[in-house]
């Protein structure tokens, strides 16, 4: 497999990415943990939803979502109202305070990011965001539709993206 070195290099960058991730974690302003920030962001972007949907979008175990949601509820940043259609569920919604916190968080992170990407062109920023988005989509597809061994060998024999 000639392009193995390519995957290897990407893998290295994705792993070494830990330093970026940790730095991003440190950027979160006090009072808002990283996990909570993710929940706020998803609710802000997609609007009110049930825990199950939130769990899907975050790509974590339901127990994880449940904990973060409980935390944010205690902070008063989201509320949980009964779902009239199914009394096992509740609808999650950003409160007014939640919206404020999310806006502050977003501004703060954008500023910090801007401070680190001073010599990036808009096109480069856009390109990286786009590639990451696609990467995540491909990983998510893999996660929700586990492949069979047959699939894998089939793809190995007829790769959709032959060496360029």
């Amino acid at each position: 497999m000639a392009e193995n070195v390519l995957y290897d290099e990407l893998m290295r960058q994705l792993s070494a990415d830990g330093s970026v991730r940790r730095e991003l974690g440190r950027i979160v302003p006090g009072g808002c943990s990283d996990g909570s920030a993710s929940v706020l962001a998803v609710l802000g972007r997609h609007g009110a939803m049930r825990i199950g949907r939130l769990t899907e979008l975050l790509g974590v175990d339901p127990s994880v979502t449940s904990r973060h949601v409980a935390h944010l509820t205690m902070l008063g940043w989201i509320d949980r109202n009964p779902d009239p259609a199914d009394r096992r569920s509740r609808i999650l919604r950003l409160t007014s305070d939640g919206h404020t916190q999310l806006a502050e968080l977003s501004d703060h992170r954008s500023r910090e990011l801007a401070a680190r990407l001073t010599d990036w062109s808009n096109e480069e920023i856009r390109r990286l965001a786009q590639l990451l988005s696609r990467l995540r989509a491909d990983f998510d597809a893999q996660r929700t539709e586990p492949r069979t061994f047959a699939d894998a060998s089939e793809d190995a024999r007829h790769p959709r993206a032959p060496a360029a």
Copy 2:
């Protein structure tokens, strides 16, 4: 700041990247935790070094490096020999077993990555790796040379990368 939305979008992708990161963590074969894998990779790429240097390259606290190194030493994948130049330090080096493990790890991860990026062109893979590398470099620079408030306001007034 007109391009704020760009930073915001990249920030969203970087955060949502959690699902990719967790999946990568799950890809690591048994017996090798994610942190250990990073240490192996750095030693394999840069050769023998002291803990201090390893800590720098990983971008973590020295206590973290120390723990991972202790773990890998117990597994027999690296060894720690006294540094003749400074008896406070020891030189870390991959053992023969360590090299084997690293090779297996690398192959395994490349295969898993390949299975998820079947419709990516080599050029796209290369591009993402390159942008991530640059992102990390810029974050690292920021971390080791903390900015003053004066720097920050100066940059805000005279950004090095004006809107394209």
